[in-house]
Point group: D2
């Protein structure tokens, strides 16, 4: 079986696991008040060229999304997002459960937001009988493999600042975004253009963990208490620090992402070559080929993947995802088998 189910289907990258093993019997203070977290946070501030940033480690993506959003907003404020945004359809209403409405914009297939899509919501929000639109949520890479360019993010950032909106970037797959061919964004760009963003560990080589970078000083106050209140403080908090140290101190994080994206792109190119259309072309480590339903039994017998959507009665869009744990042999093996079964 070739494994393309997800980028969180294996444990940690071996170097990350080694770091956990090496520090296993150290005594550390709990709740993130340890030296590993301090060093990992310092690394991140440095690599973001943003010494004022508050770096907070959390355990997973859903948790980071709703904890950050709810910490940043007042109760009468709401969130602007893509209808396909992770917080809208994949997190069991976690943001609404904190009391905040989502305004859902209909984007193109790449899942990217633009100022034009947001303006009508701002217009309606002027009525004091409605929720005040206040925070724009984007993900990079998006849920469908879209990647923001520096020009796009700059335009969105300018729009937000001129309309009193906060800009929050979900970086659960930030590694894949930065490894994409068209990417020209850097960590310092994110620190300059957003109010907060996170560097996702879970989907890029860690057992678990997301590093939230709160850039805007006004958003930093009280965050630890709130994180604790939402069950998002890991007792053995240094486990997150150790992993981000291992990932970021010499570029392992980016090497992992590059490998994953290369494998996904190799697979996408191969599948296109075999004549499979794409739901939408992806630049990230997730790809979305469309296969005839008759091929599904074959697929099921040779690889793991997820069904994404049903573009018509005879076809299925499937999702293949790659990670640090995807060997090139899997990509080439899958392509070879599919070539034979065409």
């Amino acid at each position: 079986m070739y494994h393309f189910r997800n980028d969180y289907s294996e444990g940690a990258h071996p170097e990350v696991l080694a770091a956990l093993c090496a520090t296993n019997l150290e005594e550390n203070p709990g709740y993130g008040g340890d030296d590993h977290c301090a060093r990992a946070a310092a690394l991140i501030r440095e690599q973001c060229c943003c010494l004022q940033a508050d770096v907070q480690f959390l355990i997973g993506g859903t948790q980071t999304n709703f904890t950050a959003i709810a910490a940043f907003l007042r109760p009468w404020e709401g969130v602007l997002c893509a209808r396909s945004g992770h917080i809208n359809g994949h997190e069991a209403g976690a943001v609404e459960a904190t009391g905040h409405k989502l305004f859902q914009a209909e984007t193109g297939p790449d899942g990217k937001l633009t100022a034009d899509l947001l303006l009508p919501f701002l217009e309606e929000g002027k009525n004091e009988h409605t929720v005040l639109p206040r925070l724009v949520y984007i993900s990079d890479a998006t849920e469908t493999g879209g990647v923001y360019t520096k020009a796009e993010l700059t335009a969105l950032s300018n729009f937000c600042r001129s309309h009193g909106l906060l800009l929050f970037l979900d970086g659960a797959r930030l590694g894949a975004a930065f490894a994409a061919e068209s990417n020209d964004l850097t960590l310092p760009d994110l620190a300059r253009l957003t109010d907060a963003f996170y560097i996702g560990g879970t989907k890029n080589g860690a057992l678990m963990g997301e590093a939230l970078v709160i850039v805007a000083p006004a958003l930093q106050e009280g965050f630890f208490r709130f994180k604790k209140q939402r069950g998002a403080v890991l007792a053995k908090g240094w486990l997150l620090g150790v992993q981000f140290e291992a990932l970021l101190q010499d570029g392992l994080y980016w090497r992992i992402a590059r490998h994953a994206v290369e494998m996904a792109q190799r697979l996408q190119t191969g599948l296109t070559g075999l004549g499979f259309p794409l739901l939408s072309p992806s630049e990230s480590n997730q790809i979305f080929p469309i296969v005839p339903n008759s091929l599904l039994p074959v697929l099921n017998s040779i690889c793991t993947y997820e069904v994404w959507s049903r573009p018509d009665e005879a076809h299925t869009a499937v999702r293949f995802v790659t990670s640090f744990a995807t060997p090139q042999e899997s990509v080439d093996g899958l392509l070879a088998q599919l070539a034979r079964s065409r």
Copy 2:
């Protein structure tokens, strides 16, 4: 330095870590839908003699407490707990943040609840302009080292059932409770006497993880969705299953707890022998000796611990905690040094 700061100051027990390493590159479905979680849940149901139980793995104690409590209650219902209960003073208002009031009973120094302490709240709760008392929260072992006997838990359970109250037991330190000398409770007893309880991993040898056992069928509905909504579903969920398998399949969990409690009791006995009074005698892996303030500089130079309270101006109650990572040499070494400095 001798380490007595906490029972979550080191990583995983070596056998648990070995299990994580051995399975690191397995491909597993995410979110707990894997075979390890299934096997760990089956082990727990079996060891509880309770095939109907729904076993849910969560990441940490605060998270498990508020997720379970909020899932079980309707919005107008509240929680009865000890004023010293973990949910009251140590979890940043996590339960209130889900909308539920805590009724706080003043217990004795052992932190244990009794029917007598609860009755006045039930009386007030009959008034429809108040929150309806509905769930009793206890911890075993308690935050101050108290341990429930079977007779005590049976009495509390009967009281709850006759008054329409749910009984929820926080087992973050369940191992230590069961390893205590006076303990006569078993897992099947908990499954019989409570509506839900959990077997704490974080403080007994796991990197993280709590196994929530929802006994009452009426409380099981919808729990996974709610867990997801509260950010309490680990993406690489099998990490929890692997650890609980390792802990429970051949009794490692109980061996770890027994060791920790033996070390704590050896230390408590030794300290008493040296003439230190106790804030209250403990049977668990946490002990609370009272030391003259003048001893604190010495303590600071030889061991880690926590300041607990200030019984008077000249004295400090400190907390020493033991775990799988506490060698007997630490206990004996600390006692020897203290004997010299008296």
Copy 3:
């Protein structure tokens, strides 16, 4: 000036006000535990042919909507509604503030929901990582003057029951709905086909007040406590009872509604006759003619109304609303003035 701004722009119908004055110095128990509320509730149960119903008086529509919805749902459950539904765009996120997601269906211009519009949400909701769709919210009359027929409501009710969905009907303008020409629904029909609905007082002759009829016994438990918790229990609760007694004991409620709808329909017919198109034809006491922007200064000088939408750059859809306080002279006077200014 002719007054068409809203149906809550004047105080109470004179007969309702007289009842309040007549009882002003009675001593009554607070919070709705009085004889007037008891009698009004009994009248409603009787007129609904539903002796099991729990009748609860609340103060306003937004309050009734979110209090009922949040009382009926568990935290992981969500609401299906029309995008144009009052709870979605006009209540400042009140439902989301109780933690529940809204799934917004795109309806036709009449704002009415059908099974077909709901099915895709149910499909997505099978995924346990999403909110469970659980309650269908409809309004009758809708926000754009649509009115449900018995056949339509029966079909929706059957759909809900076969899919485990609750059906909740916002009756803020129930009087107008029942006074509409095509209406064939009755109170007993509502009690039979929905799980809960309300009879709106604020927009049909009362100073304030909505009578919530909770039909399903399983939804009745704990409601008073929850109402109190949400600030929805009026201290001088008998004020609501007195008004609903006055409105319902001899049909005043329906006479008020009939008058309002007659006035609105007379105005709609007249405007159509004058050549103004309609945004969508309305059967209720709200009508939505489209006027050239050049007419707005004239309108502003002769009547009150609200701007509804901008169908194109040169035209504005406006809303005229009628009530017990709309004399036929206002309708005819407005039409005459508009005829002159054409």
Copy 4:
């Protein structure tokens, strides 16, 4: 029957009712955007000597308490109050339902808070694993008839400001407080010493309504949206403006309060003369005599009142409350009957 059940057991003071009747058929914009509300707000700002204040009208006390508190706080912040405070035991957990913990201080029988009672909570609150104490809630008059002096309120205000705490005063019975013999506070004092307070209408002559005065500019932002979200915006909002105009434009509010307090004090003096002890002496319009249980059947046959507490097995503390609707004949009549039955 003599009526002493409550100060919200009759409708409106006749002059207030007359104002409502006189304006009943005026057309007014909804939701408080009318001239009556504007004038009433201007009167209040003027009488408070506080032109910066934002005056917001709400419907009832519980609603005003939780709406104000939740609007002012961030999610990790909590409320300091007396255990006997109205928000703690009489409002069905409304504040906790907005997510905020209450820290309950044990006061004397007068229910008044002091700096000394608050300090221990501030000490505990320094721990970042706890809720941050942030707002002090007091009521004047208190729930047991206590009244703050200017010296006491000044001391509390200074304490709050030096510790970064907000001070919020529940004035549901502010009229009675100001009419108390020992009172030396004025509205400008409240505006100077608190961050927000309210002038209660429901218990002092209005059908319903509380006028919230938000003094601190930082607390004013977004309040209308939040009020709407919590169902606290009355559709026919001018009803509140009309009543507060009537109450405040020529001192009716204070005349009502003076009458009520005179009646209560006359009754308290009379009861003491008859030998009944007091649970605690009250200066307000609520008094708490202790009667032998054997007297209860007599009481039940001659007056309405509430049972307050059971100081011992043979005695009951009862509560008598007076209002604008209490004639002196009731007081003297009750005293005469009790004199006979002694």
